[in-house]
């Protein structure tokens, strides 16, 4: 199959899933969590590039290790979570730079989906659909948790369980997104479309819908433009996405 079509399939589904999940993160003041996690994945990407296995797999392994590490550090100290994430994040970044071969550094940082294999595209598609399916199931519960954790708990929502699923979803979607935009830009894949959508809508349905649409459109346009000029798609996707954000400011509602 044509390279362009395979990268479009990957971009559309990963971009849609990331933007949909991002709509939950923007409203929870977790806008920067995607960035932090993206960097925590860097050593895993290094190992994947070094030993020639899929970067998403490498990223997932280190994301899960990173989350577990943060969890245990949190039990050991009373430092705020942000500080712990910050420490794990810079340590991973440093380790990542040591591991990643110089010639592959650019790919790790800003991604490369110009040559995805058929298998990779299909796996990305399936994992993205899985993520979207889970997001749909937990969406309202996470929104109520965002509104008030106490109110959610009194209404029978198991906050620990849903926060954990939510965190795992972020890790999965970040790992998928890294392939499209690299570790530096993956945070933008999550939050910029949701921020644009937030400007345009006042209802929950419109918000998640337009967020996904912005995410998908940015990926389609970005990948086609990058392909035409033979440049890396990641930065173009994020620039298109940011242009949508500027445009959304013009049409801002209230």
């Amino acid at each position: 199959m044509n390279d362009l079509i395979l990268s479009l399939i990957t971009g559309i589904f990963v971009g849609g899933a990331a933007a949909l999940l991002g709509s939950l993160m923007v409203s929870r003041r977790m806008a920067l969590a995607g960035d932090a996690l993206g960097h925590i994945a860097l050593p895993g990407i290094g190992l994947a590039l070094l030993f020639n296995f899929d970067v998403t797999l490498g990223a997932v392994i280190f994301l899960v290790l990173g989350i577990i590490l943060i969890y245990f550090l949190n039990l050991k100290t009373s430092l705020p979570m942000e500080a712990l994430v910050g420490i794990v994040f810079v340590a991973s970044l440093a380790l990542g730079f040591l591991i990643i071969p110089g010639k592959d550094l650019e790919q790790a940082l800003i991604g490369d989906i110009s040559k995805v294999s058929f298998n990779t595209a299909i796996i990305s598609l399936i994992l993205s659909l899985f993520a979207i399916f889970i997001i749909k199931i937990i969406y309202k519960k996470i929104v109520l948790l965002n509104v008030s954790e106490d109110l959610a708990k009194v209404n029978g929502i198991d906050a620990k369980k849903y926060n954990f699923i939510y965190l795992l979803l972020i890790a999965l979607v970040v790992a998928l997104g890294i392939k499209v935009t690299g570790t530096l830009l993956v945070g933008a894949l999550l939050i910029v479309p949701a921020s644009s959508s937030r400007n345009l809508t006042k209802s929950l349905k419109g918000y998640s819908f337009f967020s996904a649409i912005f995410g998908i459109l940015s990926c389609i346009i970005g990948i086609i433009v990058a392909n035409y000029f033979s440049i890396t798609a990641g930065p173009i996707i994020i620039l298109i996405s940011s242009a949508f954000f500027l445009l959304s400011l013009v049409f801002k509602k209230g």
Partner: protein, 228 residues
């Protein structure tokens, strides 16, 4: 009258400091049970512990299969989320008949459902929260410092709303306040706390000026003129 809640020796500690110190009391069915105390007395903490939202020592025994509604004092992040009133109601697991829920809290205008939750006044939003909890058909409604004297479109205050609810359905109300006039007007039973129990019983019997003075200390002058 039968008890629907029994609390025995409830103690809550944060970093080895006792916020609530071995408190015991009971709430009867159809009570308007008011928890009175100065700022920082541990009233919200008491509510959160009987709701099992925070860890505590002692016993909190609710009647079997009781349905509890909770109206927190503040819902700080609602402005961050694009949510209209109808969306907010749909977050309820058993969201049925949103219009009926609105009517129950005295809002007849259906277009209210389209209003953005973040743009409502605090009095209006509190009403929406009460409607949200009423959709679960609770046996007990727990309110943390409901707005005093704030009304909607000049019609009905939160207290006249609660009074009407008690006439329409068999509901028990547990309410936290630092406003003394509310207690005299509304309560069937009052529990005064300042970390530990200061007084407990029917308001006219237990709210003597000595007790109030002990409870509020210097603040008492603010309240005394209402005590007639």
């Amino acid at each position: 009258m039968e008890n629907i809640l029994e609390v025995k020796n409830l103690t809550v500690e944060f970093e080895r400091e006792k916020i609530i110190d071995s408190l015991s009391f009971a709430v009867r069915k159809k009570d308007v049970f008011i928890i009175l105390g100065p700022n920082g007395a541990g009233k919200t903490i008491l509510l959160k512990s009987i709701l099992n939202l925070i860890p505590y020592k002692g016993e909190v025994i609710w009647d079997k299969e009781i349905r509890i509604g909770y109206v927190p004092q503040r819902v700080p992040f609602v402005k961050d989320i694009p949510l209209n009133v109808s969306d907010f109601f749909k977050l309820k697991a058993v969201s049925s008949k949103t219009e009926k829920a609105l009517q129950m809290v005295g809002i007849k205008d259906k277009s209210f459902l389209k209003k953005s939750a973040g743009e409502l006044s605090s009095g209006q939003f509190q009403r929406i929260l009460i409607a949200f909890e009423l959709m679960g058909d609770p046996d007990v409604l727990i309110l943390d410092e409901p707005m005093v004297g704030i009304d909607i479109e000049g019609e009905e205050t939160i207290y006249s709303l609660l009074k009407r609810l008690r006439q329409e359905k068999e509901i028990t109300i547990i309410l936290v306040t630092h406003d003394l006039s509310t207690v005299f007007k509304e309560a069937t039973n009052v529990l005064c706390i300042n970390k530990k129990k200061m007084c407990y019983g029917a308001p006219r019997q237990v709210l003597s000026s000595e007790n109030l003075n002990a409870l509020f200390g210097g603040e008492i002058n603010l309240y005394k003129h209402r005590h007639e």
